[in-house]
């Protein structure tokens, strides 16, 4: 599975590659995917075969992991018109392997199941509609023979949901909406929110202007994790729509939240909104990393979140109560989180709106960390966070809802945060809430992190470096110049020959890299929702690309 395990640790127990020999890593083979948009998926390895899902048209390719020889590919044939509703490049975050099949989603709202041996399609189910501005980009998770998937479209006035499909047949078993009446959100008598303000009836309706929840966002384009003992799946919801907050007074539940549901029925066990009445597009879709940590003298079952607002949350994953929330990057909008009420204490003077250009908001829209996933090493006790150091000016403008077209209503300009570096790869102690070390990067770090038992962590940069780092000290042990920038998570596997390999895909793009992948014009800083202003120099460092690299010790 893309996250290594249900807990989303992205930690491998392999230790053949360690701090003493990582410097000797050599390229074994490379494979060109044939696509040159943003590559956001990690490769999957199963029994000698590597599988990769490319950006649109989402070809699933099977490669001999030892030699790089192509075995077969499968093309789900998504409609090209779906590219018109993809907010942030034509990406896909990967497949999930379960029971002999690979499961993934397409931009045009299909969920596909493919036989992992033959490449034949087992089933394909359409679950959304591009005419509503809906698309899908996330990596599914399969739990108890149910394929869990969610939709994208927070920039298109799409109502967010998570669905479970029968992994055998592809039929939809349940749909849990993230806005609207309790009956549709699947909030029932077993709902136990950790904070008093979330107790009430139909809060997914009453915290919005009339009927606005129907086009309110709260999408599910990030990661889903699972605790088999508690039998809970955890995922986050994206921003409320439109971005202009003045159009939607109210807390806008249940957007920008983390939600725990029962996988069998979808019933909500608990929910917590990181950002009520979000004004900065601080999506809550980041990974919920599950770990058992020694806190306050005993082992606590926690859920870790490095959030867009710059705070690192340690939460009790059974109840949703926050144990601690401390900033891991510079932030000037959220001052603290009230642990009694759960509410963030915000600097309201920084809120944008109609005729209100708020300046120097830190972090910027992508947050201190966006979807790019962190990793946790039980050996070092550290969490490895790929982080972004950007600030922004933002203003709210009129937004018109027309189904199938963007519904945002903002003017934004992003730029480097304090220090001038736009990214950092951080080694963070989640128990002490302290930064142990950080590697500053010129560009936002959009690759995921990989942690290994050899105490080597891996990440890639948008300016074409793939790095191996000492997990304890943060010293760079090895780096390799890839052909294009990296925005995907690396992975590691033990080959059939018993050797440990490291693989990663390059191919710059995504929202941050669209100036390259989509050829945007650097003269308009407001372009790409304000990202162009912060990435004008990216084309000087990289072109688009798409190659999978596999490394090993000689």
């Amino acid at each position: 599975m893309p996250a290594k395990d249900y807990a989303n640790t992205r930690f491998s127990g392999l230790d053949q590659i360690h701090t003493g020999n990582a410097g000797a890593l050599k390229l074994v083979w490379s494979y060109s995917t044939g696509v040159t948009r943003g590559h956001e998926a990690a490769p999957l390895y199963v029994n000698g075969t590597m599988y990769y899902v490319t950006p649109f048209p989402h070809t699933l390719v099977a490669i001999d992991a030892a030699t790089g020889a192509k075995k077969w590919d499968y093309n789900p044939k998504p409609v090209p018109a779906s590219k018109g509703v993809a907010c942030c490049d034509e990406v896909n975050r990967g497949a999930f392997f379960s029971n002999g099949r690979l499961y993934y989603v397409t931009l045009d709202n299909q969920v596909v199941a493919v036989d992992a041996n033959t490449g034949r399609e087992a089933w394909k189910t359409r679950v959304g509609d591009i005419q509503l501005g809906e698309s899908m980009t996330m990596a599914p998770i399969v739990v108890k023979n149910k394929v869990l998937v969610g939709n994208s479209g927070g920039e298109f006035g799409v109502r967010g949901w998570i669905k479970a499909l029968d992994a055998t047949t592809g039929s939809v078993l349940w749909t849990g909406y993230n806005t609207g009446p309790d009956k549709e959100v699947l909030i029932g008598p077993d709902f136990r929110p950790p904070y008093a303000e979330d107790k009430g009836t139909d809060l997914g309706v009453t915290t919005w202007p009339p009927d606005h929840w129907k086009i309110g966002g709260g999408n599910v384009w990030g990661w889903v994790s699972y605790d088999p003992e508690l039998d809970l799946i955890y995922y986050g919801t994206a921003n409320p729509g439109p971005w202009n907050p003045d159009i939607r007074p109210g807390d806008n539940k249940w957007t920008a939240a983390v939600i725990a549901r029962r996988p069998d029925t979808g019933a909500v066990a608990w929910a917590y909104q990181f950002t009520p009445h979000d004004v900065y597009d601080y999506d809550g879709i980041n990974e919920s990393l599950l770990a058992d940590l020694p806190i306050g003298g005993r082992t606590r079952k926690v859920l870790l979140r490095a959030e867009r607002n710059g705070f690192f949350y340690v939460m009790d994953r059974a109840t949703g109560r926050i144990l601690s929330a401390e900033p891991f990057m510079y932030t000037n909008v959220v001052k603290s989180v009230d642990l009694n009420t759960g509410r963030p204490i915000e600097d309201k003077s920084k809120a944008p709106g109609f005729n209100r250009m708020a300046k120097n908001i830190c972090p910027a829209v992508p947050g201190a960390k966006d979807w790019e996933p962190m990793a946790y090493s039980p050996k070092t006790g550290l969490v490895y966070i790929p982080a972004i150091n950007l600030c922004m000016d933002m203003e709210g403008v009129e937004a018109n809802y027309i189904a199938g077209t963007p519904y945002t209503g903002h003017k934004t300009l992003m730029y480097a945060g304090p220090g001038g570096h736009r990214g950092e790869f951080i080694g963070w102690d989640p128990v002490q809430n302290a930064k142990r070390w950080g590697i500053r990067e010129q560009f936002p770090v959009y690759s995921g992190a990989l942690a290994t038992a050899g105490n080597v962590v891996f990440y890639g940069t948008m300016d074409r470096w793939f790095k191996a780092v000492n997990a304890i000290t943060g010293q760079v042990l090895w780096q390799f110049r890839t052909a294009s920038g990296i925005i995907a998570p690396p992975m590691t596997f033990r080959g059939m020959d018993g050797k440990q390999y490291i693989s990663v895909a390059d191919g710059v793009g995504g929202w941050a890299g669209s100036i390259v992948a989509a050829g945007l014009d650097a003269r308009d800083g407001y372009a790409d929702k304000g990202f162009v202003n912060a990435m004008k120099d990216l084309p000087a460092h990289t072109s688009s690309g798409g190659t999978i690299y596999t490394f090993a010790l000689p």
Binding site: P80, A81, I402, Y407, L520, D521, R523, D524, D528
Partner: protein, 152 residues
């Protein structure tokens, strides 16, 4: 006198629009179909027939350009192409690269017909004169940007 002038104007308008709306009737076998819209490729097999460009009725009209600017935002063109035309989900409109051509009729048809890689089809949803206003604004975007070449 006024009536005569008005009648003449009406007749000439009808004459012009009649010609423009003229459909292909019985096509003589062997005769070539003419291009009703506008070409989207410079490549023509055989001898080159000069393009009969449909011109923008609002070309050079500042009021039309301003209306176009308003419509660009109202119809959410700015959502995909960015308010300043630098591009995002859709390609930039301020540079000199035009996937589907930059003469007024090309842009008009892009808006009406949509394009295969994500440009929605607005045909039948907004009136023709508003599309020409948008065309006026969009063509002005790249002209304005060209004069700002080199500016950061």
């Amino acid at each position: 006198m006024k009536y005569t002038a008005a009648l003449l104007a009406l007749l000439s308008t009808l004459a012009v629009s009649c010609n423009r709306e003229k459909r292909l009737g019985n096509v003589t076998p062997g005769a070539a179909a003419s291009v009703q819209g506008t070409r989207e490729s410079e490549l023509q097999p055989g001898a080159v027939i000069p393009s009969a460009d449909i011109s923008n009725p609002f070309e050079g009209n500042y009021d039309a350009m301003n209306q176009g600017r308003r419509l660009f935002s109202q119809f959410n063109c700015s959502g995909c192409h960015s308010p300043g035309g630098g591009g995002a989900i859709g390609p930039p409109l301020i540079d000199d690269e035009w996937i589907y051509g930059n003469n007024p009729a090309n842009i008009y048809e892009t808006v009406v017909k949509g394009r295969p890689n994500g440009m929605p089809s607005f045909g039948g949803k907004i009136p023709s004169y508003q599309i020409w206003q948008l065309v006026t604004y969009v063509r002005n975007m790249s002209n304005a940007a060209a004069s700002r070449k080199g500016e950061k």
